[in-house]
Amino acid sequence: MSNFSNNLSYKGENEPLIKVNNISKTFSANWGKVQALRNLSFSCKREEFVAIVGTSGCGKTTLLRIIAGLDYPTEGEVLFNGKRVLGPGPERAMVFQEPRLFPWLTVEQNIAFGVQGGRSKQEIKELTARIMALVGLEDFRQAYPHELSGGMAQRVAIGRALAFEPEALLLDEPFSSLDVSTRLRLQGELLGLWQKTGKTILLVTHDIDEALLLSQKIIIMSPAPGTVKKILEIDLPYPRRPDDPIFWEKKEYIRQNII
């Protein structure tokens, strides 16, 4: 076992898994050019939970899409495990802001959709069953997306990403369209998933509480053009309490830096 894990992390445990190297991104619209990101750098360790916070329009989604390989930086590069990201890869799975489920597939099939090619039917079935148990969807195997609530649908989307068996999960404001109580519950579940599976998680959010409740490191972005303003290590133990005075202190600090 130890031999196996040593092989996997031959670069050493302290080598960052994701390294964003001085990236800039300029979009050209028909009325001119917009710089979305400028000289942005940070890194993320293996099994780390990192949150990227910023106001809407600060380019945090663009940043995540570039890391996912769905978009390209105009300058700079993203390294994953030391290799340059040139497109989507088997070691990164994206969860979008909307669930983006396939309406013609059942919950089970939607999750199985994420399973990477080259698996036998039996393997796919087992993996899907395990993940449905993990995200609490066993009773909804045969349901279609239109029969699910928003929270359920987003759970399926997270399940699909887990079925992809990535090293890193990239989440783009996954809970932003949910009501408060569902959001709190799913945040708790995400924390549990992270502790159980040991995935590296990169969470984009505009919700400061969410970032403080979940992550070990918070990257604060400032808008126009988007760039890293501060990087904040949060070493509070889990589960965290929003009424903790240190929590308040950090929250105030982020609030002042976010604009």
Binding site: A68, G69, L70, P88, G89, P90, A93, M94, F96, E98, P99, R100, L101, F102, P103, W104, F113, G114, Q116, G117, Y144, P145, H146, E147, A153, R160, F164
Partner: protein, 264 residues
């Protein structure tokens, strides 16, 4: 309980649907018996019914119907095999439409029947020209609806496919085709009813076998009751085919089976 209610509802719908034709037939029968109608071209419904029984008994009804249905099946299958893959390809290719659109719009204006003489000259009077007409009649609705279906695929779902590293083949099979199902099905239904109509015309002109030929034979022999049997058969078969396709649609697309028809 719910099932029972659904079932009675279904029966009610059918009942409502046949009330009007039933009244019409009764009125027609009465008018015919009272001598208001010229029996030369409007025979009484009972007379048509007797002709039908006779045609069933001597086998000509089934023979002609089967001949027509067989052509329909061949022609339609060939069309689907041609038009759906082609539609998928053209729908995915970005600029291809600009190249073919004017030609397609031009061809679409020409009714299949206008080509029949050419088809007869080129292919004879037996099966080939009829099947050619069917293919021509069904091709455009199936092809154009497939193209439309592929064009209207949600780019967000395509992006999911990209993020999850789908191979091009899996992308077409698992994202594009299911997205286009609805549209393709509309095309198939339109295409099939176009086929059926065009086939009858082709059979009337080539006059060998089939329901269309039977109509013309009825005219030649002054048998209006037989003409009506054939005409009603055409309508009824068309109706049954359409109902069957609608059923298939529900079977193939269980996610559309909900009451409100909303999708994700």
């Amino acid at each position: 309980m719910l099932y029972k209610r659904l079932k009675t509802n279904y029966c009610k719908t059918i009942l409502k649907g046949i009330t009007f034709p039933f009244l019409l037939i009764v009125a027609w029968e009465i008018a015919a018996r009272l001598g208001y109608l010229n029996a030369l071209f409007l025979p009484a419904p009972t007379k048509i019914w007797y002709a039908f029984v006779q045609m069933v008994a001597d086998g000509s009804w089934a023979e002609n119907l089967l001949a027509s249905l067989q052509r329909l099946a061949y022609g339609f299958l060939i069309t689907v095999c041609l038009a759906v893959p082609l539609g998928l390809a053209v729908g995915k290719a970005k600029n291809f439409q600009n190249w073919v659109n004017p030609t397609l719009s031009f061809l679409q204006q020409i009714p299949p029947i206008a080509w029949i003489p050419i088809f007869i000259l080129a292919l004879g009077i037996y099966e080939a020209p009829k099947i050619a007409v069917i293919i021509y009649a069904a091709f455009f609705p199936v092809f154009l609806n497939t193209v439309q279906g592929v064009k209207s695929v949600d780019p967000k779902l395509v992006e999911v496919g990209r993020a999850y590293m789908l191979s091009p083949l899996r992308m077409i099979r698992q994202v594009y085709i299911p997205s286009a199902y609805m549209s393709i099905f509309v095309g198939l239904r339109l295409g099939l009813s176009n086929c059926w109509r065009a086939l009858v015309m082709a059979e009337m002109i080539t006059r060998t076998t089939g329901i269309g030929a039977q109509i013309w034979e009825g005219r030649d022999l002054m048998q209006p009751d037989r003409i009506f049997v054939a005409v009603f058969t055409i309508g009824l078969v068309g109706l049954i085919i359409d109902i069957f396709l609608k059923r298939m649609e529900c079977k193939f697309m269980p996610w559309k089976r909900t009451n409100d028809g909303k999708t994700q």
